[in-house]
């Protein structure tokens, strides 16, 4: 029986073998030395029909507690924002879904133009001049920026604030030895970073990386941090939440060299951590040091506007060991999801989502304070904030989940001395009634 993903009939196969001039399919593999041939069947479970497969995966999916079946205030870098139906509509177009990197522009104007529009949207959001076509996620684009900074400055140290997402810091530290970079962390004080401390740490540094809002949800004195980096002639790199940028100032407007971040909040479902997209944008002067694909506008032989992959001499397939990055497959489809989402929002929608997140988070702070919980940091926040829960926060999470509410992220997992601290995220998908429920459950389990 022919497998549904295959098509050759017995007579096709015979005719093809005859044309090739061999007598069997086995003979096609005659160049393989006998010693490296696999001499048994793969030890895998038997093939499933589509219906059996569906049942199997439905059973696996049913053993997960997703945000449609558990009220969740979990964030810490990945957020339960609303993704409109039009995102699915566009991403399921087979012409987008099943194409590859647009090496042949005449066959790929759809993808190329949409990346050009995405680059424009990212530049508008961040206030930057040039955006790449996407990186893997918010972690890896930060490592990419370190490589850019090292080559742009010739220096071998990067500074990163301790209030930056721990996973981002860990990825940077994992890449750093290969890049020949030393990583220095600057501690926070009361939830934010002191610009003077950044200024002295930035001496001799290639880059200073900070997050806005930071991992605790607090608003950093971002313009002062950028200025501190710039004073030391280090590249100032802002790791930003795209959904905050209708309300919060764009990094390009306060002097940053590079703005980057995790795109998931803008148009991707959480999907247990991916695939999502990382965005990376910079000032014009870094255009020839950018990692990854960039799409540019040009004209065809008849003078008609069109789009192509450009500045490819930066890239691995041309420059090989001297490339600005080794990236080839990126996250185009997810970035397209980001573009569709940002188009759906428009400038007004972006601001409204931001304001609703701000307002709901403020409401959550009030409700929790009314129940006797203490805010850990006395700082303005965006959509996330830290509270003390009076005992081990991981146990509080466990007990609250037993009552049907995931109350947030236990910060003690990453920060010493914060075992009783919970990081609570509130997106526009939460309602005031759900926030009341959170306060009620936390009061019950924290006591």
């Amino acid at each position: 029986m022919t497998h549904p993903f295959l098509a050759l009939t017995d007579s096709d196969r015979e005719e093809m073998l005859r044309t090739i001039g061999v007598s069997s399919v086995d003979e096609l593999f005659r160049d393989l030395p006998a010693g490296v041939r696999f001499d048994r069947a793969l030890d895998l479970e038997p093939a499933l029909s589509e219906q059996e497969l569906s049942a199997h995966l439905a059973e696996l999916a049913a053993r997960n507690f997703d945000t449609t079946r558990e009220l969740s205030f979990l964030g810490a870098g990945i957020y339960d924002h609303y993704v409109p139906a039009v995102v699915d509509t566009v991403l399921q177009r087979g012409e987008f879904l099943t194409a590859y990197t647009p090496y042949q522009p005449e066959m790929s104007q759809g993808v190329l133009q949409s990346i050009f529009e995405y680059q424009t949207a990212i530049c508008e959001l961040t206030g930057m001049d040039v955006s790449n076509a996407s990186g893997y996620d918010g972690e890896t684009v930060t490592a990419d920026a370190c490589y850019v900074a090292k080559h742009a400055t010739g220096k071998t140290k990067v500074v990163i604030t301790e209030a930056t997402n721990p996973q981002v810091r860990q990825v940077v530290k994992t890449y750093a030895p290969g890049f020949g970079l030393e990583v220095v962390e600057v501690p926070h004080h009361g939830g934010t970073t002191d610009p003077d401390e950044v200024r002295s740490a930035a001496e001799g540094a290639a880059a200073v990386i900070f997050q806005q809002p930071n991992f605790f949800g607090c608003l950093e004195p971002a313009p002062d941090l950028a200025a501190a980096a710039n004073d030391a002639e280090a590249l100032s790199v802002a790791h930003v939440d795209p959904l905050s940028l209708g309300v919060l100032e764009a990094p390009g407007r306060y002097g940053c060299a590079i703005a980057l971040g995790e795109g998931q909040a803008a148009g991707n479902l959480m999907s247990y951590g991916g695939p999502h997209y990382g965005f990376l944008a910079a000032r014009t002067e870094f255009i020839r040091r950018m990692p990854g694909r960039i799409v540019g506008e040009t004209v065809d032989t008849e003078g008609k506007r069109g789009y192509v992959l450009t500045l490819q001499t930066r890239e691995q397939h041309i420059r090989r060991e001297k490339a600005t990055s080794n990236i080839t497959t990126n996250q185009t489809l997810l970035a397209l999801g980001g573009l569709v989402y940002l188009t759906w929002l428009g400038p007004q929608g972006l601001r409204e989502v931001g304001e609703v997140c701000l307002g709901l988070a403020e409401l959550a702070k009030q409700r929790l304070q009314e129940r006797g919980f203490e805010l850990v940091f006395d700082r303005p926040t965006f959509k996330e904030f830290a509270i003390r829960v009076g005992r081990n926060a991981r146990e509080v999470v466990r007990d609250a989940r037993a009552l049907g509410v995931h109350p947030g992220y236990a910060l003690g997992r990453d920060y010493a001395g914060m075992d009783d601290v919970l990081l609570v995220a509130v997106t526009e998908k939460r309602t005031p009634a759900e926030i009341d429920r959170l306060a009620e459950v936390l009061a019950e389990v924290a006591a």
């Binding site: 895998l44 990945i78 590859y100 790929s108 759809g110 209708g246 991916g274 497959t329 309602t431």
Partner: protein, 488 residues
Amino acid sequence: MKLIYERSQPGRRASSIPRPEGLPKAEVPEELRRAEPPRLPEVPEFELVRHFTELSTRNFGVDTGFYPLGSCTMKYNPRINERLVGLPGFAFLHPLQEEEGAQGALELEWRLQEILTEVTGLDAVSLQPAAGSQGEITGLMLVRAYFAERGELEQRRKVVVPDTAHGTNPASVTMTGFELTPVKTDARGNIDVEDLRGKVDEHTAALMLTNPSTLGLFDENIEEIEKIFHGAGALMYYDGANLNAVCGISRPGDMGFDIVHINLHKTFSQPHGGGGPGGGPIAVRKMLEPFLPVPAVIHKKDGTFGLDYDRPKTIGKVRGFTGPFGVFVRSYAYMRMYGPGLREMSETAVLNANYVLARLKGTYDLLFDRLCMHEFVLSARNLKRDHDATALDVAKRLMDYGFHPPTIYFPLIVPEALMIEPTETETKETLDAFCDAMLAIAREAAEDVSILKEAPHDRPVRRLDEVRAAKNPVVKYAFDDATVPAKT
């Protein structure tokens, strides 16, 4: 056609956002507030849908037609996988959900790891890398960690890469702080073993090899190569870009490789998405397992699944969380629909490639006249010499026949290269139609080369000026800046 920004009018919108009553006002310091809104498009939803639908019609995917882009394995992507990845238990699952609340996801990841160890013939897998190129970097980080522990990192600086390799290999070598040692290809398309012998010694850290190579040829000396590297105390890295040729037929672990990356978006049918997402899990031999990224997905003694962060020798983390989970759902589903039949998948891919090769090799030059594996590389140098028709011209003319062109000008050692990978998911009729088109183009080149030179004739745009794009980069919309509008 217009850009979405050119369809925009102030005051229009597609979104409706909930507006809960009576929310308190949050304080945002004035100096941190955005002064001017970003100029995002302002369009109603129906304009949005029309715009992106029109864009999609100006694109070509596997769903549109034959896409023999060599080295990219553009096979069919089953639609069931899109439905499965959208199940709420997967799509709305937060990656920091407690282990008890994510048992189904963790079990899926663990099962995928188990399948990959069997297919590669190795012992342990990390799913974390986001794509093949990141799998390479991760693999070389493991090489660093392995030799650092043995006190040999300062001594072993060199990584050997053949001249046929993907550009990602040498780029990854530099990005992990190693030095590149290129090695030549011999007259049969194998690594030049004599050249190799002189280059591998106690300063060598590893070999990076794609086998079958980017020429689509299985290296006949692989056993000898294994002896040379392991004899010198070096490690062997397998670039899994071409794994679609050998599933169930020959396993990298059995060839002697210590580290393998697998491109889930190639062999295991994650849709390529116009350039991504991908997935680049790595499989390793037992001795390298302690260095794998954290967290590791484990099957515990009590039968549940969990995440293990307690790996003191780990290289760290190369990406967020456990990796691109949605990619895992699709590839796992794909492999479960084959089971041990993955061998038939690879056999068919190799049969299809050899058939197309047999029909074309008399008309286009073939530098290494052997049976191929899942792909092959022709040269249009004879057309160039006789008729001034280049590989680029052939590629552009193929568009007029309704086919996506092959990869061109790669690998670099073949002049006027046309790298053709039909994959297994094609009918013989499609393969024949493609061969007929390639043969017709060769005739056209002889009769009137201008037909090729002016191609493509009926795509949304004609050939584009790439030099202009690179010389004066325009990489975002100019809005109301005073520029001369281009013809749309």
